[in-house]
Amino acid sequence: MNFSEVFKQSNQLCKVSPDGKYLATCVQYRLVVRDVSTLQILQLYTCLDQISHMDWSSDSLFILCAMYKRGLVQVWSLEQPDWHCKIDEGSIGLVSSRWSPDGRHILNTTEFHLRVTVWSLCTKAVSYIKYPKACQKGIDFSRDGCYMALAERRDCKDYVSVFVCDDWHLLRHFETETQDLAGLEWSPNGCVLAVWDSCLEYKVLLYSLDGRLLSAYSAYEWSLGVKSVTWSPNSQFLAIGSYDEKVRILNHITWKKITQFEHPSSINNTKAVVYKEVEKRTAVGSDDLSLHITIGTALYNTRSKYEICPSPVQIPVVKPDPDRANPKIGVSSLAFSSDSRYLATKNDNMASVVWVWDMQKMSLVAVLEQTSAVRCFQWDPCRPRLALCTGNTTLYLWSPAGCVSVQVPTEGGFQVQSLNWHRSGDSLMLLGKEQLCLCYMDTDQEDK
């Protein structure tokens, strides 16, 4: 495992192009594009203001930089460095900007969700979509880029509009049976749209592409409901994390619950392996190669490694404040591995623990108990390998073979706040507060 040198970045705006060739980073008001393999700077663009959002177009030819405060969006071309495009939303404001799947349109959501403006880079044409709903996830494009689902609110009712992204033709427009729609998400095959209600009511609705209601699912009433929803990459499972600290798995044929994964505070499942991170303040230069691999000079005298705990394990639980809104309880993060074999979850009142479930056996496989709260976890796009970070200098990796914690050997205390896999799964981009660093996986080593 190798680590690159550390680069500057701001606002954690660093993205690898969809084709995996380039790395775009924003530093204040500058946009830097590097070659991923060499990390040489290919292009350097200067924006009008500090960049608050940056995104690659689907064809990796254009980069969008949004400056929400100014209501500006600047688009840069990788092929034609002197080509420029500036979209000014004016006094109507801007809260969100994104590429359309074809990479030729930009969808800007104005302040107060007044409308969604669709700018065409081809024709400079502009079109508006009214009444978008301000919610958790109001817009979703299908994986193939053909359709866009948009949550709308009209006359105090929730609607979903399905647009054809090709020419923004409104394909379907239907009212949903939700009290207060919170989000929608296409299945990876683009044929089913999952719609869920706000946390006040546990309700998940499944619509076909043509607007037919396929199924409605509700696990319970009255108490706080859905917190997160994720499709499995093969579209066969829909995982619903909720405030009752459970994950429910629906199947794609009957849309009934197959199983539910609970997150108990004491684990006495003998089949699950519980990895507990243990931090050690060791002497400088100790070559402890048992589980973690240290490279370079050991400037940081805190070392962490995993220990396997015997079966009955008590997990630290933080009781949420019942008087506060959005209580820190329930499953907020769900992620399927690329082969849909594993599901990683995080329960908010056990913030330092990541649970890994086997979707074939429908059982708990591993529990990773960290010393501090988990900030981010992401599956390798090619292998069943989970990377996670807890805001310290260590990168953690889990695979069915075992668990590894890796010290990031950079100077100045690089604290990993977030991470992103390269699409090949060969490298991992680690984001600190002001820095970033690439971590290259040794292909022959990792197959140990």
């Binding site: 053909c146 090709d166 683009g190």
Partner: protein, 585 residues
């Protein structure tokens, strides 16, 4: 004086406790006794006072007593007809006796009654005690009851209050629910209102911003870029719309298509598995079939099934069969059938296995005969060597016992018998010895007796001779002086002789002596009738003779001699008597 008045007079003397007893339970039990007690007790007292009869009122007293006595049902003491002053003493005595009897009876009854009263009073005491105890118990239980009632009341009150509370709570809940509902509806309404306002505001803002000229939203592009697919954008027409629809359905269809294909694949896979299962089942069952045909399961459908199987096998060879409905049905049906058979077979095997297990645990009746017999045979086989072993053991034991101890045992046994016999003989010997001793003694006695007899005979002969001589000599009156000595010796001998044979003889002798003074006729009745005749006959002559003697000799020596003679005569008679009895024996 009338009876009632007398009764009243008498009652004055009745002690209150007697009265009490009269009035209480005794009265109802035996009323006649009361009268006696009434009459007897005061009479007794009256007697003590003894001022009833004086010399002057004898007549009155008599009549009164008569009356009283008659009232008591006794015969009258005195009748006027018999005489004025004379009364029948017998009647009076009888009457008195009766009265005393009555009095005694009365006393006895009184005693009885007193005892009874004591008993009853103790009984009453006991009853009173028990009643007080029971009362106390009653009181206690009453108190407990009241306590319980109080508790029940309290509990009732509590229940009521709780019910009230519950009702209140329910009301409260209802109220709160209503409040929540109303608030929710109000909130929803407000939300809607706000949302509407919000949308209006948005509209207005939108309008305003759109109308605003100074800072219009704009796009500034250096030059338009081509579409990603390189095509030119199309006008929005009906055609494009239809095309979109078509594409949408195409994607949906393709999705369904892929799903169907997946399912088909899955189905094919499952069918393959089914076929395999079926094949294996058929093979298993066919192996089993010949055995089963012998069994009591004559399946009517076996042939048809086998036909079916063949058909299905044929169809399975052709993949077309997979997709035809009939083939599928046949397959599933046959699989089901086979499965059922297999299941039953397995179940039977299972039950057999369990039975076998049970048999291992405890020999039950449920074991089949075969196993039973097998077991029996096995056990028999096992028993045989055991028996042999036992036999050899016995033999060995016998050998061991018999070889060294043969002579000894026989001698021992014979000794035993000899001992017994000896014992027996000894016993017999003893008895015989005893008998011999007895005989010896008897013989001795006999010889003694014979000797004595001979002696006696000799003495008798001598005596006779002497007597004869005397008789002879008696003719001379001078021979009298010698006689007493001789007679004396004889008498002594006689007495000693008669001691053993008859104890009554001395008595007789003494009597005779004492009665010598009394007249002679008294002596006769004391002897037995038979001997008396003999005495008479024997003594007739000498008596007369002695009398003669007495009468003739009035001098002292003469009387002495007469007496001696008399005595001797008596002795003789006795002697004769004794001898007679001896001889008789």
């Amino acid at each position: 004086m009338s009876k009632t008045s007398y009764c009243a007079y008498l009652t004055g003397f009745i002690s209150p406790e007697v009265k009490d007893t009269c009035s209480s339970s005794v009265e109802c039990r035996s009323p006649p006794l009361i009268q006696f007690s009434q009459s007897s007790v005061p009479l007794h007292r009256n007697y003590i006072l003894s001022t009833f009869c004086t010399e002057h009122n004898v007549q009155e007293c008599l009549s009164h007593i008569n009356q009283e006595v008659s009232s008591l049902g006794l015969p009258p003491v005195w009748t006027e007809s018999s005489g004025s002053s004379e009364m029948n003493v017998m009647a009076v005595l009888n009457c008195m006796y009766d009265l005393i009897q009555l009095h005694h009876r009365g006393l006895r009854t009184l005693e009885n009654m007193e005892v009874e009263q004591l008993k009853s009073s103790s009984n009453v005491d006991h009853l009173q005690r028990t009643s007080t105890q029971l009362k106390e118990q009653l009181e206690l239980s009453k108190r407990g009851n009241t306590g319980l009632l109080e508790r029940e009341r309290q509990l009732h009150l509590k229940v009521k209050s709780l019910q009230n509370c519950l009702k209140n709570e329910k009301d409260e809940v209802q109220k709160l629910q209503n409040i929540i509902a109303s608030r929710a509806s109000q909130y929803n309404h407000e939300m809607k209102r706000k949302e509407r306002e919000f949308t209006k505001l948005k509209e207005r803002l939108n309008q305003l911003l759109v109308d605003k000229k100074e800072k219009k939203q704009a796009i500034d592009v250096l030059n338009n870029i081509g579409r990603a697919d390189g095509k030119r954008s199309l006008w929005k027409t009906q055609k494009t719309e239809a095309k979109h629809e078509g594409e949408m359905y195409k994607t949906l269809l393709s999705d369904y298509d892929t799903r169907q294909r997946e399912m088909l694949l899955e189905n094919a896979e499952l069918k393959k598995v089914l076929q395999q299962i079926k094949k294996e089942m058929v093979s298993i069952l066919s192996l089993r079939k010949p055995i089963r045909k012998d069994d009591k399961h004559p399946d009517a459908g076996i042939q048809a099934d086998s036909e079916d199987e063949e058909q299905v096998f044929d169809s399975s060879k052709e993949s077309v069969g997979l997709f035809s409905v009939h083939a599928r049905e046949k397959l599933t049906n046959s699989i089901r059938l086979q499965w059922r058979r297999l299941k039953s077979h397995v179940e039977r095997l299972d039950s057999q296995a369990s039975l076998a297990q049970m048999g291992e645990n405890k020999t039950d009746d449920a074991i089949s005969r075969e196993t039973h017999e097998e077991e029996m045979d096995r056990l028999k086989l096992e028993i045989q060597p055991c028996k042999d072993f036992i036999q050899t053991q016995q033999q060995l034991l016998q050998q061991q016992l018999s070889s060294p101890c043969d002579e000894e045992t026989t001698s021992l046994l014979s000794n035993c018998y000899m001992l017994q016999e000896r014992e027996r003989f000894r016993e017999e010997w003893k008895t015989l010895e005893k008998q011999r001793n007895l005989f010896e003694r008897e013989r001795r006695n006999c010889t003694e007796a014979a000797i004595r007899l001979s002696h006696e005979r000799k003495a008798f002969e001598d005596d006779r001779a002497v007597w004869l001589k005397h008789q002879f000599l008696n003719l001379s009156p001078f021979a009298d002086l010698r006689k007493p000595q001789m007679s004396k010796s004889k008498s002594c001998f006689l007495i000693s002789e008669t001691e053993s044979s008859a104890s009554s003889a001395p008595e007789k002798l003494i009597k005779c002596r004492s009665d010598t003074t009394s007249p002679t006729p008294r002596c006769v009745p004391l002897t037995s009738a038979s001997t008396a005749d003999m005495h008479r006959t024997v003594c007739l002559v000498p008596e007369k003779r002695y009398v003669v003697f007495i009468c003739t000799n009035h001098d002292m020596p003469v009387t002495n001699a007469a007496l001696v003679v008399c005595y001797e005569l008596f002795m003789l008679i006795f002697y004769f008597q004794i001898n007679q009895t001896k001889w008789k024996d």
